[in-house]
């Protein structure tokens, strides 16, 4: 078995991990990463921690909600929309 190219390959994986998780890497690069990760527990653990981070970010929504638009604000928006439709119709 070839000696484990830990530092060099791990750094490469570390650099490309988001592109890999986003499926934005060419197939050859993916295969290289997978070939390395399969035999490298630190990279597996790190990749898993980043994947979970991404998953949390995607599911995260602030608990804060906007105050529902008041009547005046809604009227202002409706009027702007009506003006836009009227101007477009007049062209």
């Amino acid at each position: 078995m070839e000696p484990h190219q830990h530092d060099e390959k791990c750094k490469e994986v570390f650099t490309l991990l988001s592109d890999y998780l986003n499926l934005e890497l060419p197939p050859e690069a993916c295969q290289e990463i997978e070939a390395h990760i399969t035999g490298c527990q630190p990279c597996i653990d790190f990749a898993e921690s980043l994947r979970k981070t991404v998953d949390l970010c995607r599911r995260y929504r602030p608990a804060e909600l906007p105050t529902p638009l008041g009547r005046q604000a809604k009227t202002q928006l409706l009027e702007a929309y009506a003006r836009m439709l009227a101007a477009r119709g007049g062209k």
Binding site: S18, F46, A47, T53, D55, L56, R61, T67
Partner: protein, 233 residues
């Protein structure tokens, strides 16, 4: 391919299908808005108001600014709907307007200072134990998959996002929270695709590091563990 990665790929594909469905709804909404259909106005406000508010709140840092940005953005959308020639670009068009409105509201004092994040900051510490190289990392397997986000985790994540320099924060909000594509995010922020990819990776790493510190300090249930089986060279 590892089992975890195969699982992740399936999940990623499912998320993409879900995302495509959501996009279809938005495109139909945009078509109706452009066509001037009466019901479109209310549906559009209902759909986008909270989305714009959340982005603005995390970008501006203050609730009142975010409320104003959300209203200003909606106003610009309704004033300029005729400029939206391609309904499929509705989400990126709306967020581009929101991004510009946030810039106008910017109050530098409440932002993390603008700085570059370097990859080296996020490399996990490594140590040697006999012929093993280990990295210091929390036990992330204790964080259940798809768990309803606990308030503590939500607050931590929120703080980690807020502490990111603005340029990185904008990317992670658009790419991971709003699930815009790399190209769409690049167009909104007026940077190249490569810049988006670089900033996204570093933003994720910065957040990962904060979560890792938390998991090691408090743990979901357990303690930090050291991983690694790679023999030292």
């Amino acid at each position: 391919m590892t089992q975890d990665q195969a699982h992740y790929n399936r999940k990623e594909k499912w998320q993409k299908r879900n995302w495509a469905l959501q996009r279809d709804i938005e495109i139909e909404l945009a078509r109706q808005l452009i066509a001037g259909e009466p019901a479109a106005f209310d549906r559009f406000v209902e759909y986008f108001h909270a989305k714009i508010f959340h982005y603005s709140w995390l970008m501006c840092g203050q609730r009142e600014d975010a409320e104003e940005v959300a209203q200003e953005t909606l106003l610009k959308v309704f004033e300029n709907t005729e400029q939206l020639r391609e309904p499929q670009k509705i989400r990126s068009w709306v967020f581009r307007i929101a991004k510009n409105a946030c810039l106008m509201k910017r109050r530098k004092s409440i932002f993390a200072p603008s700085r570059e994040l370097s990859l080296d900051e996020f490399m996990p510490a490594k140590n040697r134990d006999g012929d093993q190289v280990r990295i210091e990392i929390a036990d992330w397997s204790l964080l259940p998959e798809g768990e309803v986000m606990r308030s503590e985790m939500r607050e931590l994540l929120e703080r980690a996002i807020r502490e990111l320099p603005e340029t990185y924060r904008a990317v992670i909000l658009l790419r991971d929270m709003e699930e815009l594509s790399t190209q769409e995010t690049a167009q909104i922020l007026e940077v190249s695709d490569d810049v988006v990819k670089t900033r996204l990776h570093r933003a994720r790493l910065a957040i990962r590091q904060k979560l890792d510190q938390y998991l090691r300090g408090h743990g979901v249930e357990g303690e930090a563990k050291q991983h690694g089986t790679a023999p030292a060279r």
